[in-house]
Symmetry: C2
DNA sequence: ATGAAAGCGCTAACAA
DNA sequence: TTGTTAGCGCTTTCAT
């Protein structure tokens, strides 16, 4: 059915090894033979069978990526960076969505690893279970850290600190944080930043609000709690949550930023579409993806028997505060703005 | 290194064929053997090698998907539908982004087809070139039609008609359409709807505006042209373009909807985040993806030698008008609202 | 009900 | 420089 090496070989009057060599190491074939083989390849429209090649050599030229939710613009941004960098290296990238399901993540890694050279595992929630798989396979973690698996994370801790300082400079003293998914590493990181802020500025009251889904609905669900906490400044897990806050607050008749200031995280597309436009923490998502791929290519090149001694890189990307319209001076009567 | 069929076989004291059978057709092995094999599989943590299996059987259990831009919420929505439906069928889906590059699309289809059972090709721009490949391989087109390749498209034509009728009912007589990418099938479809509207309602003046990139920037670029055309109602290629219009119009001091009404298309997440919230045409993106997969599974099941006689399904999904705040009554002095 | 054996298409020693 | 050959791990007849 399909054209194979044998067809090309007989067409060109050489052996299959010569054809194979012409394709993978042209310099090791005589120019005249090379030309003849190439002509045959062209003529028959030969396409190498990747399954066979993979089975034999173990190399695929494909980089895998697992993300929790492709529809989330945050992950979409990282994906773009990964795709661009992979293409530059001559690899394609295969992206799969775990639908925010921890069990899926492990299953997908297991599946993907068989048809790729390595995997960028983005913000995995599953951790303890079968994650030991990760040490045995070329994997780079994004927004997550586990044992000595190479990783790239965002310095949300310092980011939060900057956001808190911004709000404090505007006169806010009572703050609230609307947290994200339970096992999210970046959520823990943000809370750590809050802790640092609390230590530095003892005049602040920072309320941490439970775990909310990292979507608009999460923000809507958290808005009333945030308001009831007496906070005049609210920090959100991400931009979508911030927009949920904005929306519910507006429906309650609370004005942003006059009554309450809101800070998002990530500076995704939607931050600028919100009303008012969101003050948020900017992340260079594409850069994140790019670095992840570079780490991965490195890991692959070092071979499967990566020296256990060499420390796995754990890169941290910074976060920059972008001030827009959702933050402003704290209301004058801030102190009396307590729970009902 | 990895656990193979042989390891499991010797552990269970059977032959490799029996192990293979236990895994793919359990009812054809004796219950007692089956149990023994399963225990061995469990114990050794056996994972079938997909490359070998693919090489031998030709089946992968993987569905491929090529989209122009993963970061576009529109395609992300379709992707989610595809992933969900594929999972239901026991397949995973591998998504790749062509970065809006037509050449990439063909190359990616070629690459993907080797590691998948079939492909959902989403809104391809490339058409004439090497597309003949598509007739030889299980492919379903989304938002595109080519020869007799099965396809699912959105009835943008009728959608546009509904949007025009909505604006006309509000008193608008001068309309403008901000078009999308040059070879976009759906753009042609929308223009067809405009044509139908023009025929039905001869009191309308509909101006078609050139090709703009389907992003916020495209809308910003088109806004001044739309305003200069004297139109009081503007139809946008998609929601992002509509938001670009909104933004530029606001900067020009034109009020929406008091001075100009704007209608988006697609009803993506951003439509509700815009200010004012967008009147738009709602598409059930997930449904689109779901149907595409069903079409594809059907095609795969029918085997490679699909009867050339059987008509390939060409499904059309409807579009529903969602009225929000970006459309309103035409300004009273509409007639005198001309260029300059 | 189970096993033996023949490849799927390719790569990579090794020989010539 | 080129050809020969031995598998990679699995599925699938065909025997038993």
């Amino acid at each position: 059915m399909a054209v194979t090496l044998y067809d090309v070989a007989s067409e060109a009057g050489v052996s299959i090894s010569t054809v194979s060599r012409t394709l993978s190491a042209p310099e090791r074939v005589a120019p005249s033979t090379r030309a003849r083989v190439r002509a045959a390849v062209e003529m028959l429209g030969y396409q190498p069978n990747r399954a066979a090649s993979l089975l034999r050599s173990g190399r695929t030229g494909v980089i895998g990526m697992v993300v929790p939710d492709l529809e989330n613009p945050y992950f979409a941004g990282i994906v773009k960076g990964v795709q661009a960098r992979a293409r530059l290296a001559g690899s394609v990238s295969l992206i799969v969505d775990s639908d925010e399901k921890p069990q899926e993540e492990v299953a997908l890694v297991r599946l993907l690893i068989q048809q790729t050279d390595g995997i960028v595992l983005c913000a995995p929630r599953a951790l303890d279970n079968d994650m030991s798989l990760l040490s045995r396979v070329p994997v780079v973690l994004v927004n997550q850290v586990w044992r000595d698996v190479p990783s790239i994370t965002i310095d949300h801790s310092t980011g939060m600190l900057r956001a808190v300082e911004h709000l404090r400079a505007l006169g806010h003293r009572a703050l609230a944080y609307v947290g994200g998914p339970e096992h999210s590493r970046s959520d823990a990181d943000r809370r750590d930043g809050l802790r640092r802020a609390q230590e530095l500025y003892s005049d602040l009251t920072i309320t941490s609000l439970g775990n909310f889904p990292p979507q608009v609905a999460g923000g809507e669900a958290a808005a009333d709690l945030a308001a009831a906490s007496g906070a005049t400044g609210v920090l959100a897990f991400n931009d979508l949550v911030a927009i949920g806050l904005l929306r519910r607050l507006a429906r309650r008749g609370l004005r942003v930023p006059e009554d309450i200031s809101v800070v998002g995280t990530d500076d995704t597309l939607v931050a600028q579409l919100a009303t008012p436009q969101l003050t948020t923490l900017h992340v260079d998502l594409a850069q994140l993806g790019k670095v992840a791929v570079e780490l991965l290519l490195d890991l692959i090149a070092r071979g499967p028997a990566a020296a256990p001694g060499s420390p796995s890189p754990a890169i941290r990307e910074p976060l920059d505060l972008v001030v827009r319209a959702s933050t402003g001076m704290a209301p004058a009567s801030s102190a009396s703005h307590t729970t009902s």
